[in-house]
Amino acid sequence: MTYLLTVIIIVYGFIIAWIVIQIRLENEMKIQKEE
């Protein structure tokens, strides 16, 4: 079960973190552009 939970956490954690970072990056670039 430990192996399975590790995989679930890694996969979901990684994908969520990646998407959140990209959304923030996009917002950041938009703000810079407006300035």
Binding site: Y3, L4, T6, W18, I19, Q22, I23, E26
Partner: protein
């Protein structure tokens, strides 16, 4: 308008969150287990769809690269780059989840067997693709070279799929194609995971495309 302000993206996110809940619940509770691999065998329900999703990402790279070489429109090049990034993110997860399953199943995190090696080669080809994009020099030339590399890189995908047949059986650690799918009960869970990951790869692709578009506009403004 920001990415999340668009209605279609919000719907994507809600659907992805809903499917994620169902997905985790099914994998932990209902999904049929492989008798030889209790618990950790269920990693299969994530590992395999993640690999399929990565291959879809790379297939898109090939399609967009062909369209770019054919039509010579920069948008196709940006599409190809965004797909390559989304595909590589999933390929990275394949290479992480595989060894976590391999440790209890085979006793080793990594074995140099055909499918693992060809998967690693695919990942490295696309690392090369990003290096070419970053350090290749003249942007027009780089786009053309990257398109060719994207098309050639995709040729490794069928090789990964067929690697269990192409190399000698004594070299194989992976099961043969279709061996896992004999049990019809596993398909619904696999399909739910696959739909969820497909949604996530589309979201990743769209947002990377938007970021590239913003960067391009910024560069044009500076020039």
């Amino acid at each position: 308008m920001s990415f999340l302000a668009l209605r279609v993206n919000k719907i994507h996110f809600l659907l992805a969150a809903f499917l994620s809940g169902i997905n985790i619940f099914l994998i932990l509770t209902i999904a049929p287990q492989n008798q030889l691999q209790p618990d950790f065998g269920n990693i299969f329900y994530i590992h395999v769809p993640v690999a399929w999703t990565a291959f879809i990402g790379y297939m898109l790279v090939m399609i967009f690269s062909i369209l770019f070489l054919w039509k010579q429109e920069q948008t196709w090049d940006h599409f190809a780059l965004a797909s390559a990034e989304a595909g590589t993110m999933f390929m990275f997860l394949v290479l992480i989840t595989g060894p976590i399953w391999a440790k209890p199943a085979w006793g080793h995190f990594w074995v140099w067997e055909p499918r693992l090696t060809t998967s690693l080669v695919l990942f490295l080809i696309f690392l090369g693709y990003f290096m070419l994009r970053e350090f290749g020099g003249n942007p027009e030339q780089v786009s053309r070279y990257a398109a060719v590399l994207g098309i050639i890189g995709f040729l490794d995908v069928p090789l990964i799929f067929l690697s269990v047949k192409l190399w000698l059986p004594e070299l194989q650690s992976h099961p043969q194609v279709g061996q896992y799918f004999e049990d019809a009960g596993i398909m619904p869970v696999l399909m739910i995971t696959y739909s969820l990951l497909s949604l996530l790869v589309v979201i990743s692709f769209m947002i990377r495309f938007r970021v590239h578009n913003l960067k391009r506009r910024e560069t044009h403004k500076i020039i």
